[in-house]
């Protein structure tokens, strides 16, 4: 045997089908902290499952399932475990067809709660005391990874290098989501403590996120840039094609105009700085704005429909003045030791501000972490399509990660013509049909499945997803006829969480997926399941916002305050009760929505 050849001690004699006689370990039964993404099983009827249309409105292709596993499943479970969140071990996911439902893993013994509480105190205290430095470290780590992946010239790589990039990108994705939940759990605890204190000393908990408003985020800057581009479009006289043409065909029309090239160059400069984002979370099949700027072009077109523009300076000044007035009023209402505690809680939450981070982190994690996986997978798909192993580069989106890894690791990167590839490729058309079938069914899926509880023990789920007692009660008593019909009055009234104050009457526009957002007209009242970062541009043109889900910490609540429009969230049934074109009256302080006609 040559000196440099590897030495092998064969494992053959230890190879078994069973772990012990009578026990065969199932795939996926061990590697998770609590449990991987699975389809529903009958046992799932015993507990509640919330449709997460907030984050995943259109369904998941097979390759996205691994990304979901990294995020809301494994990331949340590991984050909750390491931080030691007392009431929850994180979230689990089930799939209805291709659509994501979320459930929680409650901690239900006193000893476990206490043991987790002990390590929670040790873990969270120092982070909250020095949050700037801590988040700065995490943000720098994420940015360094993006700098690495973005700089790679994938087209020039040999197959082995390219496959290494795919694996690195998946590993990074998992790490990014652990950071997400680690930080999220730390910050929600800080926020919920302030919320609880406010209620204890006689203030309304619903005010608390208002106390934390007025901070600029990456997304508010994006929005300001989009409004600026709309104003430039008017100045440079390129508005007409933006308003009339579909994004796909608009570029030649614009560049044919005298100042068209100038405007398009400014758009590209904007995209270079702000375009590393996709429309949804964990979706390998959604392009970044750089690949396809349609969302930016839609937003600019809708801004052009509001010629007065949106005065960010005035809106922010008003939001800050409103915030400071609320804080002063709160301070006058409490005294002595309560005032000191209020000030302490406020200072802690300003230094480690969930309302700010909730917007800011999306650019570094939710909307970006999957882009390196997508880029590398598409390049790999292009090579495989060239070699005839698959038909289209994005056929790889319809393979599950373990399938891809198995065939790639076995064939060391060049699998063309192998029977394994033929088998996989043959499944792709059916899987495409399956995805399409479920994409169409998405809007009609129930908000909750399983057993709807009276209360949810995890306060984080209550604030982030809005699972209040009212929300649950509304779903429990839902007769299919809509709410408020029992009174016999002409106006049906829907109740929810009062997220941003103000009273407005207007015409409703019901939207179920972010892709339809560009149909919203200035002055309309947006009615939707829930909003995320991608919906932000709409807040500059709508008159009010009403959501099925959400609590004080949800995106719509936070952004409505920044834009100074009324908002009611957590109504449970708004999208089923209200129709586009209905005249509605939104009272953001009372948390009510009346359907007038």
């Amino acid at each position: 045997m040559a000196a440099d050849s590897p030495r092998v001690f064969p494992v053959d004699e230890f190879v078994r089908d069973e772990l012990y006689p009578g026990y065969r370990q199932a795939f996926g039964s061990q590697p998770f902290v609590a449990g991987p993404v699975r389809p529903f099983s009958r046992a799932d009827n015993a507990r509640y499952w919330l449709r997460d249309s907030l984050h995943f409105s259109e369904g998941m292709v097979p390759a996205s399932i691994a990304l979901l596993d990294d995020a809301q499943t494994w990331g949340a479970q590991l984050g909750a475990e390491i931080v030691g969140v007392p009431p929850t071990r994180g979230s689990v996911n089930r799939l209805a067809g291709t659509h994501v439902y979320i459930g929680t893993i409650d901690v239900d013994t006193t000893w476990q709660m206490q043991a987790r509480a002990a390590r929670f105190g040790q873990y969270v205290g120092p982070i909250l005391a020095d949050f700037d430095r801590y988040w700065g470290m995490r943000a720098a780590e994420l940015q360094a990874a993006y700098d690495h992946f973005d700089a790679l010239d994938l087209a020039r790589m040999d197959p082995g290098q390219l496959w290494t990039v795919v694996k690195d990108a998946y590993a990074f994705h998992r790490r990014a989501w652990f950071i997400h939940f680690e930080v999220m759990y730390v910050l929600t605890a800080n926020y919920l403590a302030f919320y609880g204190l406010a209620e204890e000393i006689g203030l309304a908990g619903s005010q608390v996120s208002g106390f934390l408003a007025g901070e600029r985020t990456f997304y508010s800057r994006t929005d300001e840039e989009l409004w600026r581009l709309a104003a430039r479009a008017r100045e440079l006289e390129v508005s007409e094609p933006l308003l009339r043409e579909e994004p796909r065909s608009v570029r030649p029309r614009i560049e044919a105009l005298p100042h068209g090239k100038t405007w398009w160059r400014e758009l590209e400069e904007f995209l270079a700085a702000y375009g590393q984002r996709t429309e949804e979370t964990c979706r390998i099949d959604t392009p970044s704005w750089i690949e396809d700027p349609a969302p930016a072009l839609h937003a600019i077109a809708s801004f052009l429909a509001k010629p007065a523009g949106f005065d960010f300076y005035a809106a922010r000044a008003a939001a800050i003045a409103e915030r400071d007035a609320q804080i002063e009023a709160a301070r006058r209402a409490v005294n002595g030791g309560d005032l000191a505690r209020f000030n302490g809680a406020l200072a802690s939450n300003r230094a480690a501000n969930f309302a700010w981070w909730n917007e800011e982190h999306n650019y570094l994690i939710d909307r970006r972490a999957a882009i390196p996986v997508r880029r590398a997978t598409l390049e790999l798909g292009a090579r495989l399509a060239d070699s005839g192993a698959v038909t289209r580069p994005d056929d790889l989106f319809f393979l599950f990660k373990p399938e891809l890894f198995e065939v790639m690791e076995a064939g060391s990167g060049s699998g063309s013509g192998s029977s394994a590839w033929a088998e996989l490729a043959a499944m792709v058309p059916d899987r495409r049909d399956y995805f399409e079938h479920w994409r169409e069914r998405g809007p009609s899926l129930p908000t909750m499945l399983g057993t709807i509880p009276r209360t949810v023990p995890d306060p984080i789920m209550i604030e982030v997803f809005g699972l209040s007692g009212h929300f649950l009660e509304t779903l429990r008593s839902e007769s299919g006829a809509g709410a408020g019909s029992g009174t016999g009055e002409t106006a049906a009234e829907i109740r929810g969480f009062p997220a941003a104050k103000g009273v407005v009457e207007g015409v409703a526009r019901v939207i179920t997926t972010v892709g339809d957002l560009h149909t919203v007209l200035p002055g309309e009242i947006l009615v939707c399941g829930g909003t995320t970062t991608e919906w932000t541009p709409a807040f500059g043109i709508i008159a009010a916002c009403v959501c099925d889900t959400g609590g004080s910490l949800t995106h719509a609540a936070i952004v409505s305050r920044e834009y100074g429009i009324p908002c009611v969230v957590g109504t449970a049934i708004a999208t089923q009760t209200i129709k586009t074109g209905d005249r509605v009256r939104v009272d953001g302080r009372a948390g009510t929505v009346q359907v007038l006609a």
């Binding site: 509480a117 005391a129 302490g344 300003r350």
Partner: protein, 372 residues
Amino acid sequence: MAFDGRAFDGRAFDDLTPDDAVLELGAIRSDDHRRIGPKMARLGQLAADGWRVPDGYAVTAAALDGWLPAAARSELERVFTAPVTPDYGGHEHLAWLAEQARQLIEGQPLPAWLEDAVAGAQDRLEHRTGQGTALRVAVRSSAVGEDGAAASFAGQYQTYLGISGTAAVLAHVRKCWASGYSAHALAYRRRFGGAGPPRAHDLAVGVMQLVDARSAGVVFTLDPVTGDRDRCVVEANWGFGESVVSGQVTPDYWAVDSGSGRILERREGIKDVWSVLGGAGGDAGPGVRLASLPADLARSLCLSDDEVRYICRKATELAAAQGVPQDVEWAIARDLDLPDRVFFLQHRPETTWAAFDPVAYALRNVFKVPGT
């Protein structure tokens, strides 16, 4: 600790001298924090750096660690670890354990060597200050390992003001010790387990000349509400600082631009009481008590602009030297000229949520973890 099992029943250690039991202020440097706690170590370093700090001495944690008899120590250990759940009566049970600990500690005489060491240091302090036995001191707990994660536990320990004479000082050293076993402290310790906060007996005690304060208070080198590091905030009242520190009054308030020293804001507080010398029961006893503030004082600011600017300038210097924002307690002596009249009593890194611990609050009231 090397003294385990040898210092019982009041017998002296063979190898522990008064030098190990007591450190005088002039000898203290910042790296003494493991012996006397960061609070006293910082103060000694401040004095060594030429700041005006009240004279005094520290009783080391080592001296106190060896003091209790074995039976008392194991009894204390039992109190420390006894299971307390709602089934055992919850907080009442905890209060009962705390009372047992207090009696155990306060009923125990200090060993002669320790009494001698304290008596010697007290004598020398009375001599140095020229006040003899009329000298009034502050007896302050100084927890070892107080900084960092355990900082909020340090708040469980007590401080006693206006104490005179060796016997009273010794009695209050014991009280400081016992305060680590209050019901509140026991509850806190259980919530966070053993690893975070210090053990109760990791405690030193500082004895400092009490500054006869005309006015006193705190200065933060950042705005404690907004976190703005470009301004200092001063809060103060007439008399001793206790009325401010314990939140008994809405103090007078100044915001000062740290760079230029310009006073940005002056706000008169709602000062209906102040802290003055005297026992809780009446005027004659030892200690410091709250009394009604005379109306003419209540309606006037307790610091001149010059004093405010001086305090902020010094605090800003200190924060720059320490590298982190500081929270400084100070007092202004009667009958001295600026700058001599300003004494610095303690300083620590500013923890913005000193008045509110979001972690403890979330565990107790949001996640509702039993026993927190």
